[in-house]
Amino acid sequence: MDRIEYTSPMLLPNESYLVKDQNVRLYDGDQKTSFEGGELILTTHRIMWGRPGAIALGQVCLSLPLNLVVFVEEESSNAFTFSRSRKIVLHLNEASPERNEGPQPSSIYNYIKLSFREGLNSDIVSLLNDCMQKRKWEWSQTQPNVSTKPSLPNIKLRTGIAGIERSIQEKQKQTDESISLAFKDLNKLMTMAKDMVLLSQNISTKIREKQGDITEDETVRFKLYLLSLGIDDPVTRDAYKSDNQYYRSLAKQVVDILITPITEAGGIMALTDVFCRVNRARGLELLSPEDLLNACRLMESLDLPLKLYRFDSGVIILQLVSMSEESIAESTAEMLNEKGSLSSEELARLLGISVLLAKERLLTTERCGKSCRDDSTEGLRFYPNLLLKDD
């Protein structure tokens, strides 16, 4: 009760009237007070109580700032007292020392009650809670500041470098704030995503365990959901008991991912590119280079359409099984005949492959005797093997 102060019922700037109730009595804690049968007005900033008609006349009334209210509850009606009145309890914070004078300078209670003789307007509790969440009284304190702030830097801007610096600082502060705001959301998203991934993994392991119980159709449908969430079911080491089995499944997955791009790239892809592409496709659960290499080594024994090949130079590639040294040599020799001569750079540009691979192609062609080299100060070039073809 000591939080209540005398004020004028005039609304503050930004304050707005919400609801009014008649015949309300105030309680200090559990003690009845002499303030009964009055009008209660709820605004966005405070609760006002006055003798009937006093508020309308603008006379002094009692007021409780809403920023002191911690919690609002409705008192459960007592079965033994057949009173029509309903009460709500307002739990309060410590009063600020610089408050206005009130009707009661001190109180042992940390709460007050409002008793509604005419029955409770059911809106009032929810309105109170709403006000406490919105905390409009804080806006009224900050908003005037905000509105005066821009005018201040404007004046200071004219004072030269200091002004400019200040405005820059201001801007930085603003971006800083917006960035941290943005990342706040991102953090939330990330924690959510982690949960999602965990959930999906849980479910997919369950599916794996209970393969028999769930129909094929359902499994497929569930996997589709996961896919639409952007979470595929990456082959992970934990899911397999032995490394060998893991590598085997991995090899199959790598082939699935890469068969199209490798075919498009002319049948050959350097292992470094393979590594990048596979990990980009997986997104999560990245592979180590070693695992990838081990998986690729198994490809040939698994009869997959790709195989690992190591050039004499040590460059390791994945290539289509249908590609043989001869077919590489054949196609490259054709290009040589067409162009007269080629350096590895030129071939790389023509085929849209890396220089490294282009060079390997040319060397392979040379090894098959379908090209000959011209190693001069101008660099290494390859020509159709006229030396062998003639006579």
């Binding site: 090894r367 000959c372 011209d374 030396l387």
Partner: protein, 176 residues
């Protein structure tokens, strides 16, 4: 034989000047170079070649396509020639080489056949007569370098077909 040496098509093919890695190709390349080198020596009647000067040699560097044989390749060609006795190093460092478009044995036989056909056996001829003389103007060994001539005759000598006489005032040979 025309006045102008006729270069083969390979001479303007840049890879011809790089030692090829492919075994078969390299064999073809070396054999093409052998033929070219021997033909060139026969045409210009030169028998010596210095490996160190290969980059300035009119045959071993083709300025029109800006390619030249490096020492390694020249040595590879010369070694191959040596294998068939068409060339021999003169010094131990294998810098200077003599090139025989006929092997020494062939040269010896050519000379001996000529002597026999002239009925000049059992007579003494100076080396100058044998390589520059009027009687041999139409023979292939006309203008042959003395060093090579002596080596060819030494081969004949070993077969007991002649005797080389090399003294200060007389350089001659007696055929049997």
């Amino acid at each position: 034989m025309s006045d102008q040496f006729e270069y083969p098509w390979q001479y303007n093919f840049p890879p011809f000047f790089t030692l090829q890695l492919h075994t078969e190709t390299r064999a073809k390349q070396i054999s093409a170079w052998r033929t070219l080198l021997l033909n060139y020596c026969k045409f210009s009647k030169t028998c010596t070649l210095d490996v160190r000067e290969a980059s300035h040699h009119p045959l071993l560097s083709n300025t029109s396509i800006n390619r030249k044989l490096n020492t390694e390749v020249v040595l590879a060609i010369l070694s191959d020639l040596q294998r068939t006795q068409n060339a021999a190093p003169i010094d131990k460092q294998r810098f200077r080489w003599e090139i025989y478009w006929h092997t020494l044995e062939e040269w010896g036989n050519l000379i001996y056949n000529h002597i026999v056909s002239r009925g000049a056996t059992n007579s003494v001829l100076t080396l100058f007569e044998l390589s520059q003389g009027e009687d041999v103007r139409d023979e292939e060994f006309f203008g042959l370098e003395t060093e090579v001539l002596i080596k060819a005759l030494r081969v004949l000598e070993k077969n007991g077909k002649c005797e080389v006489i090399l003294s200060e005032d007389l350089q001659g040979v007696k055929f049997f």
